[in-house]
Assembly symmetry: none
Homo-oligomer: 147 residues x 2
Amino acid sequence: MLIGEYIHTIDEKNRVSMPAKFRKELGKKIIITPGLDSCLFIFTLKEWEKVSTRLSDTNTDLSFLKADQRNFNRYMFGRAAEVEIDSIGRILIPDFLKDRIGLKNSAAVIGVGDRVEIWNDKVWSQNADVVEKQAPELAEKLGNEKK
Amino acid sequence: MLIGEYIHTIDEKNRVSMPAKFRKELGKKIIITPGLDSCLFIFTLKEWEKVSTRLSDTNTDLSFLKADQRNFNRYMFGRAAEVEIDSIGRILIPDFLKDRIGLKNSAAVIGVGDRVEIWNDKVWSQNADVVEKQAPELAEKLGNEKK
DNA sequence: ATACCAAGTGGGAAAAAGTGGGAAATCGGT
DNA sequence: ACCGATTTCCCACTTTTTCCCACTTGGTAT
């Protein structure tokens, strides 16, 4: 399971270290996509298979109109990249993804269970503060839905 | 069963001793997360599995399609850590969790049945005073709800 | 009272993780 | 094919983390 928060630098070559604790689970290649909420999503190849089959299956109960779904898929697939992890655990962030979320020198690398997220570190900490306040009611809300 | 209150120091390396009486039950690795009410929760791996599978059931839904789910997962997983207990029973508290509840030199380590909580010791003793006074009426309230 | 044992605390040395940069390889354009 | 620019690979430095050992304290048994 991918969990925890790490603040890592992005060097002039657009490299970011994956936390040592993530490396085994991530494997040698990962898929990086523009995520939701101004961060990037990183999936293991295995997770990506699940995600992509699920997204492209128009018969599922995803609450999208089909046109919407096509556009969403363009968003998720069209700008996804397969990226290798180098021998000491770093990945290269494509420029267009870096620009999208305003990354500069420092990134927050977050394990969110089945995926990793990359945030501008400032945006992450602001966002975390907001979510922290909401957490109890979110917990309750989700708890009710799951029944 | 994890019970009792212990005041332990946090050294400059962010280490805290788990009470000797907890060690057997905690095992070799634990999960530490931001809890509710400005303390940290420590779960055994077994407890954590129960908690985390209930939170993110990725087999039925993609965990990132709903905004609430994303935010809650960021909170629960993003700010959690898997931590080893060292050979003499200490754990390392990640900086971001230490900061969150304002830990400095001294922490209250509390057994709460199936989990351990870490408190700023001052906050804990204040909180304990308040709860002590409320205890009778809390008991009554819970008694009514349980019917 | 004293010696012993268990629990908690502190710190030094070794190992690992993260960061930076140079050299080799690749790509693209002329 | 050649040149310059970009990317990839590898090595080296620095900082952080981990591991291990030793000291201290408080309780217990002799």
